[in-house]
Subunit: 418 residues, 2 copies
Amino acid sequence: MDAKQTIEALGRAARAAEGRLATATGAQRDAALHHAAAGIRDAAAELQAANAEDLETARDMDLSDAMIDRLTLTDKRIRAMATALEQIAAQVDPVGETIAGYNRPNGLRIEKRRVPIGVVGIIFESRPNVTADAGGLCIKSGNACILRGGKEALRSNLAIAEVLGDALEKAGLPRQAVTMIGTTDRAIVPAMATAEGLIDVIIPRGGHGLIRAVVQAATLPVIKHYNGNCHVYVHAAADLPMAQAIILNAKCQRPGVCNAAETLLVDAAVAEAFLPGAAKALLKAGVQLRGCERTCGLVDAAMAATDEDWDSEYLDLILAIRVVDGLEEAIDHINAHGSRHTDAIVTADVAAAERFVAAVDASSVMVNASTRFADGGEYGLGAEIGISTDKLHARGPMGAADLTTYKWIVTGNGHIRQ
Amino acid sequence: MDAKQTIEALGRAARAAEGRLATATGAQRDAALHHAAAGIRDAAAELQAANAEDLETARDMDLSDAMIDRLTLTDKRIRAMATALEQIAAQVDPVGETIAGYNRPNGLRIEKRRVPIGVVGIIFESRPNVTADAGGLCIKSGNACILRGGKEALRSNLAIAEVLGDALEKAGLPRQAVTMIGTTDRAIVPAMATAEGLIDVIIPRGGHGLIRAVVQAATLPVIKHYNGNCHVYVHAAADLPMAQAIILNAKCQRPGVCNAAETLLVDAAVAEAFLPGAAKALLKAGVQLRGCERTCGLVDAAMAATDEDWDSEYLDLILAIRVVDGLEEAIDHINAHGSRHTDAIVTADVAAAERFVAAVDASSVMVNASTRFADGGEYGLGAEIGISTDKLHARGPMGAADLTTYKWIVTGNGHIRQ
């Protein structure tokens, strides 16, 4: 079977499973998640055996230590996968929620009700725990899913998907609701991205190259998660010790993730008072500083930033710093160089905060808080399927409810249109 | 300039205008709409002169009478355009609406607030009033838009867009917020559909060919409006006179539109009691009937339906009729052959209605009401930008609020992540 035929066969099976999952009760879907959590714990040895085979191949493939680390299923990670499934089960059921409901003057009752999207295609790399997280969120939201992981994690992914399939069956649901693709054929990605009628949406999770490949090939809707070039702007009316704590946290608490700060903008009015001390603390935390001319005049240890720095997502202990002449220049800089992910202002001034919130075009805008809070868990969504940098359908952290669409339900009593 | 350069230049101008529109007050946007309505009335003679040139070219192009009719700007249609703009102004402002707002245990305040999408690309055919409707809905929702109409309506569209531009300026807003493309270069469509960073979403309005061309070329999100193969299912527990009134209305009230019914499914339990009388009424209304074998056994005047009929959107006074053995067969037929637009059940039985609503995969599901109600105006959304047959972002009738996305606004008091 070529890739197109494979997707056609798996897509038909998923489509058939979809209806049964969509009309199952919440209790049945939650039961499947609890069976899956128990199954993951019980199958720890089998999962690690499959993972050991992946790791052996990975070493032959000369993968980096970081990649091998991400691939490894430790005892702790297996327990974390099981716990995550239980947390997903504990969330409020998004399916069936009435988003809007009202009567029309002619007596028609109109209701907008959340329903599963249908079949969700997820294309991801590396970490095998995505199989459990993504599969679990799809079960919770009543969707069937077709998963395509990286070839380096194939055996681990298949073993986890097997556990999810068994759990679905124990709950009286079709195991085809979670399908892990078992071939490493590269033509699978474009075949998934064009499987109209079989898959309803594609969610790529991974590096820029993977996402571009999906977007270029796709005729299906794609929800993307591009990079995060996040800013912290220290306004003239900022509480300066607060601002220092926020930039330290936003840059250093976990520099390798998309909601870490990459650029610090400092209002000229407070640059002299703020920058030398903040720079000292950042340097002490091991951060390399790259500043504009005015920054370099205030901070000896800063090297000169180039134009490229303003557009960089370092994902590392490096920070670009620019002194700006007021709020509007900060907003213009962010809208010109940011990635529309997450940007923060530190200020005590209500009007400045309101203007920043209104004018900065980003999925999350923080006022007096670290950019690191842009996260499904921190927003109370539970496990997240990703952080959308798109504006359509879902923006920012996506939880189970973002894997739903809605249906208009119109109830009359023999109403006909005049 | 080639198409790509044209879109680049127009896209940059629209992007610059977007921010000013997004942060304008609702009163300013509504003022622009009222100026536009007055401007359309005042410019009636100029609009008709431009339209006369289009009509002259159209006659040379040998367009059908129906297309020429759709292209013609009569006095009545000009007045209707102006009224529609005033009705859009009268709608509740979707911008700034808080969709969700709550406090987290750590004291962070989380708010999800509606904001404009940004720059909306709309590609349409024929009717010049779409320029006013689509431009008006984008102004209302704080979006800039780039419009591409059919070449047969170019002069009319440009004249209408000129009025909208003047109205924006009178309200202190940039005229570039509504841009009508002035070239008929066919390469404009793919250039728009791939203008990442300049346009945020593409909405094609027109025939299947236009929508396919956009989907195939697009790397941007597309919201589609495919066809409507709508069903009316007469359940065993239906009130039969009600069922007859509904199918007559759904088929005949305006057969050329996407929410008209194309297939009637009749439960075997009531086929004998229902079909002969209903068929008589349908035939009297000029409807051609194409039935399954059992239908033809009950209705002499029905010709035999072929497999193709079940998948057809006639947009004409033709109706396919099939007798089904119960609710589940009706649901299976609809999910196999329907276009996920609008389907109706006629029944007095609560359980049957609930099952139908849950299991039929369509943007609108009607209970004891005509499919013809699937419409933005009928749902109380005001003017509609289209009826989405997609499941992502917006489904079914789309109003001004569907031209918005949201922003997460997170307010702390120096919160940092542990």
